[in-house]
């Protein structure tokens, strides 16, 4: 399961989406996420599905690769769906003991699940098509105005890029330690909940030790190279908007407006 986390992983192919400016992709992801919460009508969801499918197609990242990230949120998904189904007041469809399933609950659960799934797919698509460096460059640039309010944007961006960079490293490390302990006869897959939790100790202790060691090594290496924060630091690849970015922004705006409009369209069936 640990290898299923696709957030923070980059899929190296060349596509229009890959070539977009990271700021555009950030804005696009934000717009997409917002649109999911703005709309509540089926038309909106159909539109969002089409747009998402189109972007995935354009990105040339295999669909199988993108949906891998979903397995990691399966538990959250199941929980939120069942809470919504059983705990939403409204017109009851049938009862199950003290639990009652309502029409409103089913609808809400369905939309909730779609939202969560699209949220994960949308953000994985961004990280799959953007290298961590580009991503933080984009973030730093887009949030630079916050500097005036005393927010250390560069530092935050740097921390984010390090955190993102560490995800695959720690995943790999976890895999390695897990294998090493399995070679010593450890069993991570069987037993009841308490036994499984206990079986995690030989994994977690070395993992924490190694994370701290890596962090301290990295800090040393950065200091050795005279890292002193963002002040006066130049970029090797300064960000530059292209024609395709302008097109993308226009499309985003249109999409968002249409999604807002779907709020006011009522379909009599539902």
């Amino acid at each position: 399961m640990i290898r299923d986390i696709t957030i923070g992983q980059y899929y190296p192919v060349d596509s229009v989406i890959h070539r977009l400016d990271p700021r555009t992709k950030l804005a696009g992801t934000m717009v997409f996420l917002m649109s999911l919460f703005v709309t509540s009508s089926p038309v909106g969801y159909i539109l969002a599905t089409l747009v998402l499918a189109g972007c995935i197609r354009l990105s040339r990242v295999p669909f199988k690769f993108i949906t891998r990230g979903l397995r990691a949120i399966l538990v959250i998904l199941l929980l939120s769906v069942s809470f919504n189904i059983f705990l939403t007041p409204g017109e009851p469809i049938f009862r199950l003991g003290f639990l009652k399933v309502t029409k409103e609950g089913l609808l809400l659960a369905g939309f909730m699940a779609l939202r969560l799934v699209y949220l994960v797919i949308g953000s994985s698509l961004m990280t799959l098509t953007t290298t961590p460096t580009q991503l933080t460059d984009g973030l730093e640039r887009s949030l630079r105005f916050l500097n005036r309010f005393g927010v250390p944007v560069h530092d935050i961006a740097m921390m984010m890029s390090i955190a993102l960079r560490f995800i695959p490293i720690l995943v790999e490390e976890t895999d390695k330690i897990m294998k090493a302990q399995t070679a010593r006869g450890a069993d991570f897959d069987s037993g009841n909940l308490i036994q499984r939790a206990k079986a995690m100790i030989p994994l977690l202790v070395p993992l924490f030790v190694s994370a701290f060691r890596r962090a301290s090594d990295l800090a040393l290496a950065m200091e050795a190279r005279c890292y002193h924060g963002g002040e006066g630091r130049t970029k090797m690849h300064p960000l530059q908007y292209e024609h395709r970015d302008r097109v993308a922004y226009i499309l985003m705006l249109v999409y968002l407006l249409v999604m807002i409009a779907t709020r006011f369209i009522r379909i009599p069936v539902l």
Binding site: P12, P62, F65, K179, P202
Partner: protein, 282 residues
């Protein structure tokens, strides 16, 4: 009694643009009681290959037989196999986790279902074998020196009393003193307990001194599997793989070129000494 691989292949990211063969169509048989050196350039598939031998990785194609039983067959007890085929990973000290050294070494034997007492007995024995003194047993594994940690970690695997011991670059990052200790300990285990040893390394000198067979991997393919003498005879080809023969082999070649009647295929200092004495005597 042996480990046998048949047409073993492992493919990373099969079906994506990043598809790569880590190991490609490898077949070999390692007889009981042998000492095999496994060498290859970084990324040649050494680590991937050895993880197949105790069932930690499942091959994309082909399979592995341990004592003529297919270890990837349905229902094969992999956990028991791991007690027989011990694998010491690279930088094994990073897997230490217990509060004290002795308990950490007992982890393996206890997982094999041994009683507390038996596990303790084996742990003490293993720790003595790797040269850890009794007063260290109660200390935290995290406060030991690098070499000590490494030896404790190796003891963690030895305590399971495997018939086959696989070590992935056990000397990486150690000073010459530490290297000698670890290698000496491995060769002692091989001699005294008749353990089959597979030693992964990229130091030719280490491998040449201890191994009776050498396996050379290049880009995931098995290039050579022969006695050190035969393998180092191909030192020109080894160089194209980013490897080299032991220093002493080059010296012997230079001496032969200079007109001395010396055996060109020497691979250890001991052999060289005997040859030089022979020449000087005649």
């Amino acid at each position: 009694m042996s480990i046998r691989a048949e047409h073993l292949s492992y493919i990373y990211n099969e079906g994506t643009v990043m598809e790569t063969y880590a190991v490609r169509d490898i077949s070999f048989e390692i007889a009981d009681g042998s000492f095999v050196g496994l060498i290859g350039h970084t990324g040649s598939g050494k680590s991937t290959l050895i993880q197949h031998l105790n069932g930690l990785m499942k091959p994309s194609r082909g399979t592995v037989y341990y004592n003529d039983e297919d270890i990837f067959a349905e229902g094969y007890d992999l956990k028991r196999l791991r007690g027989h085929v011990g694998l010491v990973f690279q930088y094994p000290e990073y897997q230490l986790f217990e509060e004290d050294v002795l308990t950490d070494v007992m982890f393996g034997p206890k997982n094999m279902g041994l009683s507390e007492e038996e596990a303790r007995k084996r742990a003490v024995e293993a720790l003595h074998q790797v040269g850890i003194e009794d007063e260290v047993f109660v200390r935290s594994p995290f406060e030991l020196s690098g070499g000590q940690k490494r030896r404790v970690a190796v003891a963690g695997v030895i305590a399971m009393e495997p018939a086959v011991l696989i070590l992935d670059e056990p000397t990486a990052g150690l000073d010459p003193e530490g290297r000698r200790e670890i290698l000496g300990m491995v060769s002692r285990l091989h001699r005294e307990r008749q353990m089959t040893v597979i030693l992964v390394s990229h130091s030719m000198d280490d491998v040449a001194e201890y191994a009776d067979r050498i396996m050379v991997l290049n880009h995931g393919e098995l290039a050579y599997f022969d006695t050190p003498r035969e393998v180092f005879r191909h030192h020109k080809e080894l160089e194209t793989f980013g490897l080299s023969a032991p220093e002493i082999t080059y010296l012997a070649a230079e001496l032969a070129d200079a007109g001395f009647d010396i055996d060109r295929d020497i691979s250890t200092v001991e052999e060289a000494k005997a040859e030089i004495l022979r020449i000087m005597g005649s």
